[in-house]
Every structure is written in C-alpha cells, then in structure tokens.
Symmetry: none
Subunit: 132 residues, 4 copies
DNA sequence: GTGGTCTAGACCACA
DNA sequence: GTGGTCTAGACCACC
C-alpha cells in the first residue's frame, strides 16, 4: 500500500493517513473490496505508533470508506457515503465554498479556479462564460 | 459586521471567525480599507472571550487579509498575495485535491463536482452535469 | 537550547524568543529537523508563562521557521521562503534601509557600516574601513 | 517637509514619522540646522492627531536627531549621537545582526546581503571574498 | 508526554 | 477608545 507521510507537515499523522487512503481509493489505486495493510504492518512501514494507525482506520470506518471484518482485517468499502442527499449537498457546498474563498485570498481569479478544477477532473474548460 | 459562530462545531472559534471574515472580504461585503468591528465589540456580540477574537485577528493579519493598527482598529488590507507563484499554485492544487477527493467520497461524480464549482463561481458549464 | 531573555527589555518576551530561535537556526546551532525544547520546558527554563512560549512558537511557525506537530513537539523547518522574489527583495531593502539610516544617526560612516556588515558575514572588504 | 505616511502599515504612526524624519536627515533632504514643520502644521498635513506628531518629535529629540528651541520650533541637530563608542558599537552590531538573520530567513545568501548593502551605500562590491 | 483552545483578568502602548 | 502583552489555569487532541 503506497502511503507517503510527511513528518515536515503540521497535519496530524492520523489525518495524513486518512487522507492518503481516501486519495488512493479515489484514484483507483485501492479498489473496492481490496484489503488494506494491517494496523501493525502499516505502523511498522511508517515507523509510527500503532495507536495512530488504529485511530486513522477507525476514522475511515466511521466515514464509510473502509469496513473492518473481525479477524480478517480492513477492506475498502463498496460505496462510501451513507449520508442523506441533503447532507451530501451541504457538505459539497462547504467544500466548494472553502476552495473558492481560500483561492480568492491567494489572488486567483474565478477562471483560474475553474481551470484548476477542470484540469484536476480531466475535463476541458470551454472559454465561453469567462466573464469575471 | 455579520458573523455567525457555532460553539457546537468542532472547528475552533477563532478559525470560524477567520473564515467568516475571509468570506466577507471575498464576497465584497467587507471592502478594502474598511474597518472591522473592534476586538471587544465582536467578542461582546459573539459572547466569547476578547482574547479569542484577538487571536483570530492576529491570524488574519499574518495571512495578509487585514492590518491591525494600535489605537485605531483593524482594517481590510489591499489585496495582493506576497507568496511566490510556485507556492500559490501548490496551495491551489492542494485545495482542489482536497475538494475532489472528499467530494468523491461523498459519491459525487466529476461532472457534479464541476457543476457545483461553476455554479459557485457564477460561470456556466458548456456540458451541464447534475446540479448540486 | 540556549536562549537568554531580558525581562527588562522593552522588546516583548515572545519576540525575544522568536529572534533567539531564528538566530540559533541561522547560526546552525539548531539544524533543520532538530527538535526544540517543549513549550512547557522552555517556559520553566525562562521562568515565564507557557502561553508566552506558545505564542512565540506559533509566530515562528507562521514565519516558516519551525513546524509544530501535536503530541510530537516543535521542529526546525526545512529552509525555503514561500515568498515571491518581489516580496523578498522588498523586505531585504527595508532591512538594509533601516540599518543604514539608524547607523547614520549613530554617526557611523558608510565605510564603517560596510565593514561591520562584511565582518559579520565573514567576508573581507577590498577597501577596509574602520572596523567596529 | 516631505513625509509619506502609510495608513496601510501596521507600524505605529509616530514611529513612521520618526523614521521618516531620520531618513530625510540621512539623505540630506533635511540639513543640519534646518527647521522642521511645526507639530500643528505637520498634523494638519498628515491629517492626524497633533499628539501623535508631538510624541514623534519628543522621540526624535530624545534620540538627539532634533533640538527644540522654546518658541522657535524644532531644528535638525548638528550631530546626533550623544552615546559612548561602546554603546554605539553595540547598537551597530545589533542592527547588523538583525539584518543578517532576517535576511537569512528570507533565503538570501551572504553575498546577496553584501551586495544589497553595498548598493544602498553607493559603494561597489568586489567579487573577491565571495566564498559562502 | 506533546501542542491547541479558551477563559479571565491585569496592565501597557497608541491615537 | 483602540490593539498588545503577559499571566494563570482549565480542558481537549495527538502520539
């Protein structure tokens, strides 16, 4: 399992693990049903405390990203979001809001923000509607 | 100055203030040069400790969003990020990456994500996806 | 970690700590990746309130000098200013301007100022002035 | 008297005035014996409180930059530093130390720092001794 | 153990 | 009046 932890980051270790796994799942690197490294193994690989890995896995389970099967280990869940559409849309709005506002304060224009998102999504920006 | 704080949120109070001010500045609700509520006033309005507001304002100043002047008050700064283009692009990428991955785990498809972003930016998608 | 604080100085305690750490890093006394004294330890050593040390460390992190990691401690960051060249040059100019003007009012001549700077940088002036 | 005050700066107004006058004196714009604008006039020009200008002038007088003559106004002093050589050298060292350390954290190399100082002093850098 | 947040209250400096 | 510093002490989150 490919997970890079940056000790130079001030993000908590367990959050880096959570996000790393979510990224791997989103990119297809980890497929649904696939088994994750055991808590013990991953802790050894990353040279960190097993409790930290366990906390990350617990968080991933509570988010519906992985499922734990007693004695068998942790597996990537089939579908992740157990939330209502209302809650999902609310969270998406918050994520977008956060992106837009922080990008504004980095002096990026709306078209630049749009371009960055489309590039990441492997879609193509049309130049129409580039008003602001 | 309109700011709503949720004491129940897991987000620290001072971060809620920081983000609230950044949102107000990004939306134009607070214009460059405009004066913010004083530390004491805002603390009174929100029914929290003045030190917490002061911490939020200090953070906003270190991010270049406002300037604080002893005896005068706090004012919205003129916009212009002091960061290098390399750093700005790096941070934008991280923001986009975060959005895309979290949205994926909320079971949103790339077109849905794109639509949500474009809607927030008041731009129009050439190939309209499901709107949030 | 060697840090001397002058409670009698008009400089705030937390700024003295900030500058002391920056000096230690610049001199190589503290190497990149090295761990700083904990907030509580340093506060005990200096006989000041832990909050004051915490404030200094927060300032150092916002300046990119150190990183703070919950539960782990504070570490000297890898060097690399995130600022644009324009901003870096602007700040350098201001620092030099300040030096030159203050030194002038201390009745030092330009050659004397030059000599003092070169001596500090361990370089040698081609046309040696009066050394400080 | 040419003094530009930046309300966008977080430096106290009175310090901006102090530094502005010292800069004007250092550059020769204000010659020794020359009369400064009255407290009242300068306050009107800058559209600030006379108390603030008075505080700046008091600071300049205590530093030996200007002298007040009762009823006649304030004049640029003949020579500024009433300090002992020991104190003068100590202060110069501190100024240089500050420059070098802050410049280091802006990722400037010693030769770059030297070049910036020499350029400001209208001296010429020889390329010998450019080791670090 | 580490750092992080928040409160409460005193006192100082600037305009 | 404004913001800035410092103290004291409680409680939480991370490792």
């Amino acid at each position: 399992m490919f997970l890079r932890i940056q000790p130079s980051s001030s993000d908590p270790l367990f959050e880096q693990i959570v996000f790393g796994v979510k990224r791997a799942v989103a990119s297809g690197e980890l497929a649904a049903g696939e088994r994750l490294d055991s808590v013990r193994d991953l802790a050894k690989q990353l040279a960190i405390n097993p409790n930290t890995v366990a906390k990350a896995y617990a968080e991933l389970e509570s988010q519906g990203v992985i499922v734990r099967r007693q004695g068998a280990g942790c597996f990537v869940a089939e579908r992740s979001s157990p939330l209502s559409d209302r809650e999902r849309n609310k969270r998406l709005s918050q994520l977008v809001e956060r992106l837009v506002i922080e990008a504004f304060h980095l002096d990026f224009s709306p078209p630049e923000i749009r371009a960055a998102v489309l590039a990441r999504l492997d879609l193509h920006a049309s130049d129409q509607g580039t008003s602001p």
